[in-house]
Symmetry: D2
Subunit: 206 residues, 4 copies
């Protein structure tokens, strides 16, 4: 069993976390080409956002399908997307996980269903999630629904999610805004606290 | 999301599965030396049982702690136990996972808590679990409790679990037998159906 | 603990079940008046559908908010809606639960979150859900999402759900059809198997 | 869906809660007579403890089997135990729920499995559970296991649980003490904070 200090030398506690949902993805499925057209520019925005999140020392959590069927691991999934001649290669190159990123493998649409995500977030002390990834009207929306039911506050950078067409993507954004009370805005308008501010606030609390 | 054929070319459907609970373990914790004394002979029995389970084409599922803290993966945990000078090395050598074994990383004591185990078993059509591993009065017992609540039938080979002392191990076996209705018997007395029998029975059903 | 025959003398096993989601509701909340305007005609269609479901001996399951705050029970919630001068009274009169209906109290939006619904359906052997109730773009959609992730087949009678406005209701129906693969059609076009057909099919199987 | 103030006028927030596990029980099952012999004196101790918990304004939560099979409610279960000629009547008389007690119906052995218990405790801000009820080596132990995995601190008054025989009860207490780190002591040695102390401490925190 895990002891309470499981997150060791990492950004131990953080009210805010960045989620990358199903970004490590070969796009080799029906509709994958349509999705890719919108996903590629979104991936560039996500890469920028991830850089800023790292500087702010926020936890970065890859929430990804285990398309290796409970036998292969996340590293092998990444390798498959980078090394084989698959549609998603350029996206995975942009968003390759770093060694101290977290990852949670999900068997179904929502990142919370049959996974440790809720527990990871609880140990990190995270209450606000920045949601990015694909598809906006599917895995992102499912994860957003489950996050809202678990009382997380949601921020969704509108240029960091993508769906197979714009109408469905807009409807997903609208649903997240109206029903899930998510803050929707372009990624450049999302500011992360600078690490020293964060520490100062934490120090002030204790 | 996973499609219904996620388990691909593997022992697709099987009423019976073998679970190895927290066997990939460096034993570098308080009481680890005591546990190791009983765990080493048990690991030899588990290795034999696993060989027979492979011949019978049963799914073999490693249910293991993620002591890499949601950052490292199962392969890296195995490597750590094999390559570093840790107490558990000889056990992990005996029980090194094969490529087509399944693995489920658990964050807490029970293999079912905040994991995909129940879903994996549902897709495999498994209803009976053969439980082995460490510690008998802790992770094995927690997993057995949760399996029983989910209506799985339990078989526990008495020489394939180990605890820090014999009294606690015996009490755990007694609890599994009396309350959880587990079949308890030595591993040599557990017979797996031969694959062709299995297929014949499956064919008879459909 | 419950024994395996918990559902006793009731429609014991049924592939199909009718869900009434948050229909026992005082409508005394912001937007309740808007919702009521669409919910009242829907409630009449639900009442008809429920009558036919009873004739077909299908399980009827009320999936309802526990707005009594974990202290009052379902009967008291029904009584509050019928006896006090609340907006929802006419709807609850139409849809008053019968003694052999099932009920599941949900604390949040989805009927599956922190409830026994999945277990009740498992014991009933139900794999297809007919979803009705309020609000279509909220509790019904949340429940539909969770049902889909758990591999239930969904049928949604389009005139048996209602939301605060028609655009949101239509978007919810579209999301259920496109992403959740739900069958959407008017309630009059949903036919339930006659009980003797059902028994004949069950007999044929065993 | 429930809003954040669902617990209204009740002991809104409390670090500590008293759980009564499967105390509303007709004892009409195999072994019920044996259990009753030990359960009756325990029920007297629980009744005393409950009185003191009420004075201390702690939340009191009945965690009970729904032996009405998802059709009857808690009030009807209480009535059945009080009005019909059942073995458990004298116990239920001692432990009859009050109007502002909470109740959670569990379908299986653990109070946390397929129920809202974890959510109720989260909203109450409860982190320490005082566990009482029957049977000590079954529903109480299952609930204790699940509570421990969810990081609750456990206090078990040794004279407020009962099993069918003393050996099994003692083993359950030992398991809770050793593995689940529960505090085990006679109920008279458990002191609850006086309400004004509680408020003072809460005030000091904010």
């Amino acid at each position: 069993m895990i002891n309470s200090d499981f997150n060791g030398n990492a950004p131990d506690k953080s009210e805010l976390a960045l989620l990358l949902i199903y970004t490590i993805n070969d796009f080799e499925f029906d509709g994958g080409e349509d999705l890719l057209r919108f996903a590629l520019p979104a991936a560039e925005r996500i890469a920028d956002l991830k850089k800023r999140a790292r500087l702010a020392q926020l936890p970065i959590i890859y929430v990804n399908d285990n398309f290796g069927k409970w036998r292969s691991d996340f590293k092998r999934i990444v390798a498959h997307c980078l090394e084989d001649d698959v549609r998603g290669r350029s996206i995975v190159k942009l968003l390759e996980p770093d060694d101290d990123d977290y990852f949670v493998l999900k068997p179904k649409h929502s990142g919370f269903f049959s996974t440790s995500l809720d527990l990871v977030l609880e140990y990190l002390g995270t209450r606000t999630l920045v949601l990015t990834g694909f598809a906006g009207n599917n895995c992102v929306l499912f994860t957003a629904n489950d996050a809202y039911m678990r009382d997380y506050k949601l921020i969704v950078p509108s240029d960091c999610i993508a769906s197979e067409n714009e109408v469905d993507n807009d409807n997903a954004l609208k649903q997240m805004q109206q029903v899930l009370k998510a803050e929707i805005r372009p990624s450049v308008e999302i500011e992360f606290p600078r690490p020293n501010e964060k520490e100062q606030r934490q120090a002030a609390r204790s």
